[in-house]
């Protein structure tokens, strides 16, 4: 009964909402996840293996986005990318790249913001692989790259999956950083979470509700699949 009323309610304006913000969100999350995977594997390997005194410093930098308000990260990226600044100016002159209020800028901001969500699971995965496997691979003459590729990554699949999914879901849920650095440009930087805020501001509660429901559904499905898959993997493993 409730469900029927609910579906009637949503159906009436289903055609009215613009799906572009959802697509921008998904695209941003996919690109961020892919790039972050490439960045996080060597970074997590270094942090998990190093005996350097600076290890805690590295770990702190990686974890900072967990506790810093997103607005702080957004603010500093805004300052750094601004064409009025040396770095922003350099990017504009050399690569014709404007990172403020652009999709590319959002990708970089998301990478910074979601860094711990990718690095932490992979790092703890690496640390749980017995040290002797890595050493044996070296003794057998294999490079670090080959050791990561053939020995470490195949043995930490659940951690990889956790990192990928958390990063994806976290990027979809991003708000503060995007607001600071991306603005609200339709088709480019107007992601779903911003669209919700925008609709609420214009008192379009129905549209805001639709966006919210879709995000709720997507994130629920993503997280549920992780717990299902990882639960099964762990059960089948004899450790």
């Amino acid at each position: 009964m409730l469900f029927m009323r609910w579906s009637r309610l949503t159906k009436s304006y289903w055609h009215m909402i613009d799906f572009e913000p959802i697509l921008v969100s998904l695209k941003l999350a996919a690109i961020t996840t892919l790039l972050l995977l490439i960045i996080a594997i060597p970074l997590a390997f270094y942090v998990s293996q190093t005996k350097s005194k600076f290890k805690p410093v590295w770990e702190t930098f990686v974890s900072m986005p967990l506790v810093l308000p997103p607005t702080v990260i957004g603010f500093y990226l805004l300052v750094a990318f601004s064409p009025n600044n040396a770095f922003g100016n350099f990017l504009k002159d050399t690569f014709d790249l404007q990172l403020v209020f652009s999709f590319e800028g959002l990708v970089i901001a998301s990478i910074v913001y979601s860094l711990p969500f990718m690095v932490h699971p992979i790092q703890s995965g690496f640390q749980n692989v017995p040290k002797s496997l890595v050493e044996m691979s070296y003794v057998l003459g294999k490079s670090k790259f080959k050791t990561i590729q053939k020995v470490l990554l195949p043995n930490i699949k659940p951690s990889l999956l956790t990192g990928i999914v958390l990063t994806f879901a976290h990027t979809i849920g991003e708000f503060g950083v995007v607001l600071m650095i991306g603005g609200n440009i339709p088709g480019s930087t107007r992601v779903a979470s911003i669209a919700i805020y925008d609709e609420v501001e214009s008192l379009n509660y129905d549209a805001a509700n639709t966006y919210s429901l879709i995000l709720f559904g997507i994130t629920f499905a993503i997280l549920l699949s992780v717990y299902l898959i990882n639960g099964r993997t762990y059960k089948n493993r004899i450790v």
């Binding site: 002797s132 496997l133 050493e135 044996m136 070296y138 003794v139 057998l140 003459g141 043995n155």
Partner: protein
């Protein structure tokens, strides 16, 4: 000839541990490194393999310096020793055959794999993942993998300590066979005296990171004065007395042997001691059994 002349200090928790030695190991020899836990046996092997870096000295193999303090330090990849870890370190994501294949050098012919699978009798196991193997099987795979690249030096870190006596004896045969076939210089870490006497021609006895004794097994264990042709080592299981006769039950390999002893002999023995049984006066009787 391997020339080891180095010292290394490891920071382990509350106290530091130092290993310092200057010793030669002959090419083609079977050397045992013997000593109590924490005496530096594993550290010694790890230094040779390049997994630990000494603070002073050098490691020379056939006049080539693998390590010379602050000048040369070959990576483990470049040293190419064969190494069997105590926990075997088989890659759990690969089958037995894939574990061996992984060890191949980039341009190496894979014929050696079939040869090793044959010698180590691994054929029925080639498509099995390590987690379902028994201890003895894992040990054979680890040993085969260590020899894929045809190393000159084989390092064995207590590879047999977790196995029961029967399998142990069979694996000792495998190791000796491979040692001769591939003309290896083998270093074996163990604290099993019967293993030492059976396998090795040279012993380095370590205690608290220093060489206590060094030489042929019999010199090290002080049995040179016994000129006998019939001797075994075993473990004392039980000491019992009836009137004035005393019996010692000794476990030799798979068999328990009861020996008559006098009061003086039992006075300094207790169950668990390792003893040498020898006979001088009689010639043993030999009967064919198969």
């Amino acid at each position: 000839m391997i020339h080891l002349n180095f010292d290394i200090t490891l920071n382990g928790g509350s106290q530091n541990f130092q290993l310092a030695l200057n010793t030669f190991i002959k090419k083609g020899s079977f050397t045992t490194i013997y000593g109590p836990s924490g005496s530096g046996k594993t550290t010694l092997l790890r230094c040779i393999a390049g997994l630990e870096t000494p603070q002073n000295g050098f490691i020379k193999i056939e006049d080539i310096a693998w390590f010379q303090v602050s000048k040369i330090n070959f990576t483990p990849q470049k040293r190419g020793v064969g190494y069997v870890f105590q926990d075997y370190a088989l890659f759990p994501n690969m089958t037995v055959r894939e574990n061996l294949e992984y060890a191949l050098k980039s341009n190496q012919n894979s014929k050696i794999l079939d040869e090793l699978i044959e010698i180590m009798e691994l054929k029925p196991l080639t498509n099995t993942k390590p987690e379902t193997l028994s201890g003895g099987q894992k040990q054979r795979v680890a040993l085969a993998r260590a020899l894929v690249q045809k190393p000159k030096i084989l390092l064995l870190d207590e590879p047999l300590s977790a196995l029961d006596a029967e399998i142990k004896s069979k694996l000792q045969d495998y190791i000796l066979k491979l040692h001769e076939k591939y003309e290896l210089t083998t270093l074996l870490v163990t604290h099993d005296i019967s293993e030492i006497l059976r396998m090795s021609d040279h012993i380095i006895e370590l205690k608290d990171g220093k060489v206590l004794k060094e030489g042929a097994p019999k010199e090290v264990f002080g049995h040179t004065e016994i000129n006998s042709n019939f001797q075994f080592t075993g473990t004392v299981l039980d000491i019992s007395s009836e009137d004035f006769i005393h019996f010692i039950t000794v476990k030799i390999g798979q068999n328990n042997v009861k020996v008559v002893a006098d009061k003086e002999e039992i006075s300094n023995l207790k169950p668990g001691d390792t003893v040498l049984l020898s006979s001088k006066a009689f010639n043993p009787i030999i009967q064919k059994m198969n």
